[in-house]
């Protein structure tokens, strides 16, 4: 398990290559990349700043990944989340899950992302024409995280 919080951008190909290196048991890698949109809730977004809680953020993500590893057969995981100022089209987050078969990789990747949205302490402040505003939490994200409780 690797969890990194960083201001720098990341190279998805290089990160997945590193995850797979020397691991011939890996048969599937599912990855998700979150990207800054140029529009949110009807307003043009010129950029955003991401804040986190150093220490707790890493712990929260590690806990989420541990839960995923307990539920699915996972060989390794990588989560990179950027903080600081980002522009539209910049990458924000990468979740990559390696497993023997695709079912575990797909499910664990989506689970980690859904929980990250609702449990990991990050806060977005968007710059719009009307000034900067803190993004409010979405009820739909809670619904997305909650559906995992229905199973098993």
């Amino acid at each position: 398990m690797t969890v990194r919080i960083q201001t720098a951008d990341f190279d998805v190909s290089a990160e997945i290559a590193a995850l797979r290196r020397g691991r011939p048991a890996i048969g599937a890698v599912a990855s998700f990349v979150g990207v800054v949109r140029d529009v949110n809730e009807g307003s043009a977004v010129a950029g955003m700043t991401l804040e986190h809680y150093p220490g707790m953020t890493e712990k929260a993500i590690e806990e989420i990944v541990s839960q995923a590893q307990a539920r699915w057969s996972v060989l390794d995981t990588l989560v990179i989340h950027r903080v600081g100022r980002l522009n539209p089209a910049d990458q924000i987050v990468l979740v990559a899950v390696a497993s023997a078969h695709r079912g575990d990789a797909f499910a664990a990747c989506e689970f980690i992302m859904d929980y990250l949205k609702t449990r990991a302490p990050f806060w977005k402040k968007e710059e719009t024409g009307g000034g900067a505003r803190w993004v409010e939490a979405r009820a739909s994200d809670d619904v997305a995280a909650g559906r995992w409780r229905l199973k098993g």
Partner: protein
């Protein structure tokens, strides 16, 4: 003494990200710390008022109102998270 941290909108509104406060003998949990801060009035009362969208953590773990707080702890208050 405990360390109290504020993040995002709370940090900006309150004008501070971190402070050390003496824990009165009567305060034993997160709700007690919150009440102590609300008693300062002004913006403190506004952003931490009951019913406002505030989450808390004690020693970097998600906390509820009745989560115990003791001398030396790190208590954090912040808005619902919006990462990813």
């Amino acid at each position: 003494m405990i360390t109290v941290l504020y993040f995002a909108r709370l940090r900006e509104t309150l004008g501070t990200g971190s402070e050390r406060i003496a824990l009165p003998a009567t305060v034993h949990d997160v709700e007690g710390v919150r009440a102590l801060l609300i008693a300062r009035g002004g913006e403190w009362k506004k952003v931490l008022a009951p019913g406002s969208p505030v989450r808390a953590a004690v020693n970097q773990a998600v906390a509820a109102g009745d989560t115990p707080v003791a001398d030396g702890d790190e208590v954090a208050f912040f808005p619902p998270v919006t990462g990813g």
